[in-house]
């Protein structure tokens, strides 16, 4: 078998790009355009639908969007599924509530101005929590995150002098009403979610993010190849906690109350996990789709059927159906369909043309070896 010499000829970046480009993936321009259109739609939404009941659904959806994008930076990329991000969410809530109370802040604008501190508080508490929980893997990790979350909930109950215990804390809401009340929260959450998404994108294309993906696939091998696994996981967790902390801070001000059982709640992470899974875990856009599709639905059911627990039943059934119907998540499933479609079209075109002029290289010879069609699906 003749194999071309491995002469290290210098290639231009464009040539490399052409060689590496995924022929079945949308172009960069298509992707960028889609993001801009989505951002525009989300920006315009509360200006078009001005009913405060609708915009408040929008606000909660943006809170979820922000948090799930943050959650995905850690759990999605590293594969360490956290069901304990409510720790950072609750910490964000208490931070904001306590600061507002003790600093005697009354104006709505200055209340919102301290929200970044909620993010920092979430990030700060993620360091010790991370050092504890990141010692274990897989299911033990999942359960340990739940346990840590309950520790925080119980601590919030047990220190009434600080947290108000089971009576909770009140946050004076900003003195606005109707849409004037909703819109600042909506846009701040949207803006932060956009920053979160940019962070997620930067992580995904950085060496550090590549290390996280490698950890997800085979942590021991990643370590053996020189990835600093503990550091990578901890940094991802801290980044992720920052955005979830901000979501908590905004929520506390928006609702005006903080209770231990709602700040540190097992529900929260299950929502986040389901949103991320439904959209596509560990992808950039998956969590966005998940939150935008299911967030409003969750709010709608709660408003419509919230008087009884009928909404729990509907929502639970819906979860099961979606999880079983789209086990890989919407984005990867659709992307796969699209790839298969393009690949089959491409193969048909290739057959029509005949393969004579396609430049047979070592690569193509191997690629066309039996059982090695490029679009072959279904690994292990």
């Amino acid at each position: 078998m003749a194999v071309a010499e491995a002469a290290p000829e210098l290639l231009s970046p464009a040539e490399i790009d052409r060689a590496f480009r995924d022929p079945f993936s949308p172009s960069k321009r298509t992707k960028a355009t889609s993001w801009i259109v989505l951002l525009a739609v989300l920006t315009a939404f509360p200006l078009v639908f001005t009913n405060p009941a609708v915009t408040s659904i929008g606000v909660f959806t943006m809170f979820f969007l922000l948090a799930v994008v943050g959650w995905n930076i850690f759990s999605g990329y590293s594969g360490y599924i956290s069901i304990g991000h409510a720790v950072y969410y609750g910490f964000g809530q208490y931070t904001v509530a306590l600061l507002i109370m003790h600093l005697g802040i009354t104006s709505g604008v200055s209340e919102l101005a301290i929200v970044p501190l909620a993010g920092l508080a979430g990030a700060a508490v993620a360091v010790p929590v991370g050092l504890l929980v990141l010692r274990v893997r897989r299911h033990t990790f999942i359960v340990l995150t739940i346990a840590v979350m309950f520790i925080f909930q119980l601590l919030a109950f047990n220190f009434p002098s600080i947290t108000g215990g089971s009576t909770g804390l009140n946050v004076t809401p900003p003195p606005w009403s109707g849409n004037d009340y909703n819109l600042p929260f909506y846009y701040i959450a949207l803006g932060t979610a956009a920053i979160g998404l940019l962070t997620s994108w930067a992580v995904r294309r950085s060496k550090f993010g590549l290390g996280l993906l490698a950890i997800r696939d085979d942590e021991d091998r990643a370590k053996g190849l020189g990835i600093k696994v503990t550091r990578a996981k901890l940094i991802a967790l801290v980044l992720s906690a920052f955005f979830v902390g901000i979501a908590g801070g905004l929520y506390a001000i928006f609702i005006g109350q903080v209770f231990p059982q709602f700040a540190f709640t097992p529900f929260y992470d299950l929502y986040l996990a389901v949103f991320a899974f439904v959209g596509g875990l560990g992808t950039l856009s998956g969590p966005v789709f998940g939150a935008l599709l299911l967030g409003p639905l969750q709010q709608y059911f709660e408003l419509q059927f919230g008087a009884t627990t009928l909404y729990l039943i509907i929502y639970g059934v819906l979860f099961v159906v979606i999880l079983l119907a789209l086990p890989r998540g919407i984005v990867p499933s659709l992307a796969d369909r699209y790839r298969t479609f393009l690949a089959s079209r491409w193969r048909r075109a290739e057959e029509r043309r005949g393969v004579e002029g396609s430049g047979v290289t070592a690569g193509s010879m191997i690629a066309s070896a039996p059982g090695a069609a490029p679009a072959e699906r279904g690994g292990s």
């Binding site: 599924i81 069901i83 504890l132 010692r135 274990v136 893997r137 897989r138 299911h139 033990t140 999942i142 359960v143 340990l144 739940i146 346990a147 840590v148 309950f150 520790i151 119980l154 601590l155 109950f157 047990n158 097992p266 299950l270 996990a273 389901v274 899974f277 875990l281 009884t308 627990t309 009928l310 909404y311 729990l312 039943i313 929502y315 639970g316 059934v317 979860f319 099961v320 999880l323 079983l324 086990p327 890989r328």
Partner: protein, 290 residues
Amino acid sequence: MLVLQGIVDGILAGALYALMGSGLTLVFGVMEVINFAQGIIVVLGAYFTYTFASHLGVDPFVTLLLTIPIMFTLGYAVYMLLLRPIKRDRVIMSLLVMYATAVVIEGVLDLIFGGTLVEVTASYGTSSVHLGSLDFPNVYLLAFGLSAVLLAALYWILYHTKFGRSLRATTQNLTAAKLVGINVDHVSALTLGIGVGLGAAGGMLFGMTTPFNAASSYDLISRLLVIVILGGFGSVWGAGVAAIVMLVIEDVVAVVWSPVWGQTIFYLVLALVLMFRPQGLFGRRLARAQ
């Protein structure tokens, strides 16, 4: 003396938690499913007993003759319908599916019974046996006895029946079990049936010892998970020992300090133990390779 009473309370309650936790750890051992619904299953079992006992006017223990078969069937069906189709990311996907199932059951229970706390009562329920200054509530003694009987039955099934052998084989190596012709789906479904049945039996006892409503499931599942981690995922005996140790610690702290700290200690012990033994007290290895 208070401490001694705390230890007695802990051991008696610990046996009950061992029973409820055994179903959880058994299910995990066989199919790597974290049954997040185990908490609500316990509550469901308690509601079954509550309903049968109040409508049929029979002793709570007699209701188990109805409850256990019903719950066993439920478990079997849940596996076949909801868990068997899962092919990828089993651990987390099954957790999410079981969570959604739990939410549905919770919604149904709340719809039927509302949020009021109820308790299963029996004529002998409020009295207790006194030994010196120590107090042994009848209900807890009966709970202890039933837990012991059911766990012994579980032991017999695991080690003296053909099904038990298949089950243990599946726990050790899923692929190999498939290769030697064990119908893994059938074994898994039966196991979930047994796990759910044990949870329901525990639920009857839980309902006799604690006022409950649908929301009690969250406290339950988090405690059961802690017990199962400490015992080492998949180890029934580990869970039993962990349950008793943890409940004794909780009850002792509760009597000498305060009940709220008793609860907190529960989770703090977990954090401390895992710092030094990430695989739990009795767990052998972190996880199967792949």
